[in-house]
Symmetry: C2
Subunit: 133 residues, 2 copies
Amino acid sequence: MTEDLMTIREMCETYDVTPRTLRFYEAKELLFPIREGQKRLFTKRDRARLKLILRGKRFGFSLEEIRQLLDLYHVGDQQLTQMTRTYEIACERLADMEARREELTQAIDDLKEQLRWGEKVIASMKQEKKAAE
Amino acid sequence: MTEDLMTIREMCETYDVTPRTLRFYEAKELLFPIREGQKRLFTKRDRARLKLILRGKRFGFSLEEIRQLLDLYHVGDQQLTQMTRTYEIACERLADMEARREELTQAIDDLKEQLRWGEKVIASMKQEKKAAE
DNA sequence: CGTCTGGATTACGTAAACGTCAATCTCATG
DNA sequence: CATGAGATTGACGTTTACGTAATCCAGACG
């Protein structure tokens, strides 16, 4: 079925993006579909990368930041020094993300508290309404 | 000291933004500084809102989305139906944020695993290097 | 009174992330 | 062979979120 290769149309339907977007990501070197004549064919690797790209976007990363993050996942056949550097960057990123999650947790707690407040306000408004009837 | 009112310059230093940014947020109706003659003076409320704006931006919300979120915090003297609607929207937002945190947790776990992999690769590379010497 | 200094307004500029449109190309099908 | 559906390649348009420069005020100060 998915012989490991997908056309641009299949990609669009699967991941809910436009062809333009996929071509744009290729131009930006985020994806590397192979060519069959003119046509692009997206590999399993492209799909994995696209998933990470979309996830990154939901977190508000820029495409350039995402591109660097993606490099952390391909590791490949680098030199020791290069590999070590990559590892360090990844560690920093991880710290960023954990800090981010902390902040998000804080925001969630804030909103929850706000909601409890809202519940009370609504309840008292209903009381008033009842009393007025 | 902070007599509850801050000049644009003080705001910029406190929150590390430019004057342009603050004026822009006012134009977009995210902030409502009062005027002393020509000059803007930012209130405590503006500062609270700005903090939420900056937080929202770190989470990748657009300014328009943030504006809607901010409305959830001012609640004010609304009608019951309006208040209830606001409450519902806030609940949805909360659900969004919790889902987001789940995803972030997943991303963090992924990256952690990747890092463990990286550690092993680096270790083996060091071994090879040693052996070659 | 001249002149800074800080803020305001107006307006044009810009980078990112695509959208949109026109002009091919190509291949299967009637 | 004509043609219609999909894909590709420019190329220009658009929105968001400000940056930047020019010009204009108003109060402080020597």
